[in-house]
Symmetry: C2
Subunit: 156 residues, 2 copies
DNA sequence: GGTCAACGTTGATACTCCCAACATAGCATA
DNA sequence: TATGCTATGTTGGGAGTATCAACGTTGACC
C-alpha cells in the first residue's frame, strides 16, 4: 500500500561523511537507546538510575561528588535528588563536618527502585546490542571505555 | 592550592552499572564530541553538515528524503533548510513532477561551507579519538556501523 | 469524486547541557 | 580577627535536539 514511489531501503544510507564520524555514530546509538528506554520507562528514570547506582556502589555522597562521578552539572543533580527525595528513594541531610554539603544516602525504597530500573535497562541493553556477538559487545565496551578514559581527566 | 580535601582522581569513576551500559557510553562520547565541536563552530553547523553532506553525495533531494537519510524529523529538516537557504548555501524549488515536494540542491557557496565544516570536523574527530590507535579506530567504527545497521531498517 | 497518504510548515512539550547568578559556608593568609 | 577566595546547593535563562500533533496542500488509488 505505497501510493508514492519507494526507493530501495538499502540505498537509504546516511552520507559517507557522517558514517565516518564517531561522534555522529555515538549520537545515533545514544538516540536508539533513548527511544528504546522510553518504551519501558519514563526518560527521567535514566537520570535516577545514574544517581542511585552511584549511591549503591560508593555509599553516601555529597551532591557535588555525585555530579563529578556522573559527569552531570550541579543543577541537574539538585533536581534529580529533589525528585528522588520526594519519592523517599534517598535521604538527604546536611554534613555536620561541612555544612555546605548535602550528604545523600540510598533508602530501602531507593534500592528497590534501582533494581527495578536495572531490569528494564538490561532489556534495553540486549535489544540495542542484538546485532552483535558476545565478543563484539566486549570489544565495543572496551573501545568506548578506552576512548572515554582518555578524556576523563580533564573535564568535570 | 586546594583548600578543600581532594579525592584521588583515579577513584572518580562512574559506577560500574553505568560503565557497562552501551547507551550511557555512547551518550558520553556524543557529549564529548558536542563539547569539542562547540569550541570550533556554532553547534548548528553540525546539522548543516549533515544536510550538506547528503546533498553533496546524493545530489538533489526532497526534504522528506533528507529526513529519512539523516534520521531527522521533517520539522528539523525544514528549519535547517530554511536557514541554509537564507544564507544561499542551497537552492530550494518545488518539484514540478510532485508539487508537494521541495527539491533541494547544493550551491557553490554551500559546497565551500561544507568543506569548511569538514575541516573542523576532522579536527574534532582526531581529538576525540586521540587515545585510540588506527586499528582501534577502524574497529570502533566497524562495530558502531554494525550496531546501527542492525536497527536501521525499522525506524525512520 | 471521495478517501487516504505524503509533504512541508508551525507549534507545543520534554530532556539535556551550559552559563550565570545568589546566599551560605569553609579555608587561607595577612 | 578580618579579608578574600573557593566550594556548595539552588534557581533561572538559554540553546540544541527529539517527539508529537495539527494544518493546508498535493497526489494516488478506488
Amino acid at each position: 500500500m505505497e501510493p508514492e514511489p519507494t526507493y530501495s531501503d538499502d540505498g537509504m544510507q546516511p552520507p559517507a561523511r557522517l558514517r565516518a564520524l564517531t561522534s555522529w555514530q555515538a549520537s545515533k546509538v545514544s538516540l536508539l537507546g533513548t527511544r528504546m528506554t522510553a518504551q519501558h520507562m519514563p526518560l527521567t528514570a535514566r537520570a535516577d538510575f545514574a544517581v542511585l547506582a552511584a549511591l549503591e556502589e560508593y555509599g553516601e555522597l555529597s551532591q557535588a561528588d555525585l555530579g563529578r562521578r556522573l559527569g552531570l552539572d550541579r543543577n541537574e543533580i539538585s533536581g534529580i535528588v529533589t525528585r528522588l527525595h520526594r519519592d523517599h528513594h534517598l535521604d538527604r541531610h546536611v554534613d555536620p563536618d561541612n555544612r555546605r554539603r548535602n550528604v545523600v544516602t540510598l533508602t530501602a525504597s531507593g534500592k528497590r527502585y534501582l533494581e527495578e530500573i536495572q531490569h528494564h535497562t538490561d532489556t534495553v541493553q540486549n535489544e540495542l546490542l542484538v546485532g552483535l556477538t558476545a565478543a563484539e559487545r566486549r570489544q565495543l565496551n572496551a573501545l568506548l571505555t578506552k576512548l572515554l578514559s582518555s578524556h576523563k581527566t580533564q573535564s568535570a
